[in-house]
Amino acid sequence: MEAGEGVSSATPTEEMNGAGNLMDFLDEPFPDVGTYEDFHTIDWLREKSRDTDRHRKITSKSKESMWELIKSLLDAWSGWVVMLLIGLLSGTLAGVIDLAVDWMTDLKEGVCLSAFWYSHEQCCWTSNETTFDDRDKCPQWQKWAELMTGNAEGAGAYVLNYFLYILWALLFSFLAVSLVRVFAPYACGSGIPEIKTILSGFIIRGYLGKWTLLIKTVTLVLVVSSGLSLGKEGPLVHVACCCANLFCSLFSKYSKNEGKRREVLSAAAAAGVSVAFGAPIGGVLFSLEEVSYYFPLKTLWRSFFAALVAAFTLRSINPFGNSRLVLFYVEYHTPWYMAELVPFILLGVFGGLWGTLFIRANIAWCRRRKTTQLGKYPVLEVIAVTGITAVLAYPNPYTRRSTSELISELFNDCGALESSQLCDYINNPNMSRPVDDIPDRPAGPGVYSALWQLALALVFKIVITIFTFGMKIPSGLFIPSMAVGAIAGRIVGIAVEQMAYHHHDWIIFKNWCRPGADCVTPGLYAMVGAAACLGGVTRMTVSLVVIMFELTGGLEYIVPLMAAAVTSKWVADAFGKESIYESHIQLNGYPYLNVRDEFTHRTLATDVMRPRRNDPPLAVLTQDTTTVEDVETLIKDTDYNGFPVVVSRESERLIGFVQRRDLTLAIKNARQKQDGVVSSSVVYFTEDAPQLPASNPQPLKLRRILNLSPFTVTDHTPMETVVDIFRKLGLRQCLVTRSGRLLGIITKKDVLRHMAQMMNQDPDSIMFN
């Protein structure tokens, strides 16, 4: 709409909408008003009231004609449509990633001769010639050494395979890091700390862009298949959020309102976890507990729907051929006993300790990367870590395969059919029970050799994950954390099992484990350990238990999982309150106002507000005496993001608040399009400008961009309350007054800096433009 009409219609609309109306943005007279610049925080209140206005307008219009009614219905449905699209795309992308990872992981070891696009398992899918002992061999699948030299066994073949494994790993990770560097630097990392910050109202342009989506999807496959100690779960959340951002641009309801967009992003995070773990409900709870900042009930239902669609899409692609959404889905039916809670709680303690160790060490290493020479060689770092990982991982069969497969094997209970080393128990030769219910057996030599290999794998995973997370490639830490916990849990599980077998007569085993009964499930211990370690690193509780519960599909294991999760949280919290994501937010200095932190210092608003005692006075505009030139000078000389508007410099009574960006755009637009607006024109923020003689330059009326209800507190408000207001309402700034007189301003930046100062951190580390 054109400017003139917009201006003239402003006043009646305002009156109609009453005092709650901040601005009338519906018929925007010039583009880009109400948007934000890069690295700025949004004003949730303003976004909310803009959406309410928009909604009100659509409702009132819908009574006018049939077409408007249909339009309003479409608008009401658009939220669900966006969710459907997000679910479809993120489910499909997750399926593509799973399939491609499956193939590329196996490509490091060999190739399928009948069809190169098959992974090892798919290649031998129809093979009939498998005997029990070498069940995973088939003539179509050839290892590289076999293909090149013709002999599959021997030292030469081993060395050649080893060499090619390293070479492929290096190639994949080099490709990944160069793609990230050239096309989308924002695609690196796990993405969850940044998503958390964005959801709390920070703008990072391009972080959820199309190139980020493409490159993150493509490179995620590369890095996961290169065998690095990282997972795809965190990055999948980022991928889902990129999908959400993509579809938001199709609907003006979401593309023009940053607050509404964040509701969609919250739901998309749920869809991401839903496909990453095959846990739709867990995804919704993850979004609620871990990433979201503002989560109304409407978003809950929408994330529920998005998670459902995403899981359904992935299920229909069926990437693992097992009709499940994840590789490591397990099904147990064996019960657990009260006495087992002791080892479960011990695993919880281990998980907490691992969480603390990981967070401390990883943050220290990342700080080193951020501040020293190390950060100058990102490509070399990735190559070096990949090389070390590949060299150390290949000799140990538990680290050579992909981490998901490892977790899958550790979670699975040993049936009579398992051929892996971990299940090398000494069988009773005349056992003829059904396969489900096998009594505890003594461990064979295979189990013992597996145990020390697992112990080595545990140490290796612990160390290498610390150095891997945070490199300039997409990397998540759910899977490595779970692997660490699963290995530890399985070791504990086997130990308990053997103890119970060999010492039936001990008092704790006496009424729990009779000889010949199946009383200890080592796979369950692995699962509890995985939950504990994941909990220690991310400090999730409810969502973690639900995710693990959805992975097992057994209701009876909720109590062990809860016990482990809560223990690991207690232990980890005893050493430091922050989760890994919050620590990374702090390390990077993102302006994230944590809802969980408590502010207990007794400071007042007047201590925090600007201007301070010796500062120059606050830069303000007056409602009817400032000229365009004055405003332009003010904008040029200062870098404030907004200016309070007062009645006059003498009385300093507050009228409203105007955003710098809106002011700049309005003046630029007026100078281009409105005749007679020159440097000496007076800017009016009042309702109507007085009639001026014709000799005076045309006045510029800017009431439309003025926020008439800025949030104010009095100078004696305790900071505790102010911090709470900022958190709960998502304010960007708050004005400080005393009996109607403007004294100063508190911005989100001031609050964050004040909090950092109170916690003895460097207040200048917080990033703001």
């Binding site: 193939w103 696009w117 098959y118 798919q122 129809t126 498998t130």
Partner: protein
């Protein structure tokens, strides 16, 4: 601000979605002969070694009695032997796998070619351009911005618009690279 670029991007994303939907259609077609199997794993029993049996069978017929053929044990032992065997009916879609892997590889290939183009060929072209148009050298990114926008508004042919969009995109990536790799302000 950049409707042309947005339009082309939407077109591309629509194309990608269509490709994926096609992918889904391909997989939804009737399961081909080699896409279903019934796999029975039978553990060692008495003096018989463990065996794995694989058959293309319908879900209904997926049990030990149908699949294990020839039966390694005499008639009266069949029941006991079959109790031990675990039979699983599995489905896959070989077409989905094939199409996905080929699409993935072509995307990676295209990205690689474009990367090589940007790193090797593009600087050469720019260098030659700089001799003919000395105005167009590398200024500070913020100074450059309105110029590029102006160029976009003038350029009406598709090629010019693509060129403008590419320039703008390159600026953005450069900015991101500075933030992430050089200044270590984010994502470290």
């Amino acid at each position: 601000m950049s409707s042309g670029r947005e339009g082309s991007w939407n077109l591309i994303s629509a194309a990608v979605v269509i490709v994926f939907l096609l992918d889904a259609v391909v997989f939804a077609q009737a399961k081909s002969f080699e896409d279903v199997r019934c796999k029975c794993i039978c553990p060692p029993y008495r003096n018989i070694t463990g065996h794995i049996y694989n058959r293309n069978d319908s879900q209904k017929d997926c049990n030990c009695l149908h699949v294990v053929d020839p039966m390694p044990v005499p008639g009266h032992d069949v029941e006991a032997y079959c109790l031990l065997c675990e039979c699983k009916y599995e489905e896959r879609s070989s077409n989905t796998i094939k199409v996905t892997i080929i699409i993935y590889l072509s995307v990676v290939g295209a990205l690689l070619l474009y990367m090589l183009f940007l790193l090797l060929v593009d600087p050469l072209i720019r260098k030659r351009d700089r001799y003919t148009q000395p105005l167009h050298n590398e200024e500070d990114s913020e100074e450059m911005h309105p110029q590029v926008d102006g160029g976009l508004a003038r350029g009406n042919t598709v090629l010019e618009r693509v060129e403008g969009a590419q320039q703008r995109w390159k600026k953005q990536v450069q900015e991101q690279r500075k933030t992430v790799f050089d200044r270590h302000k984010m994502l470290s």
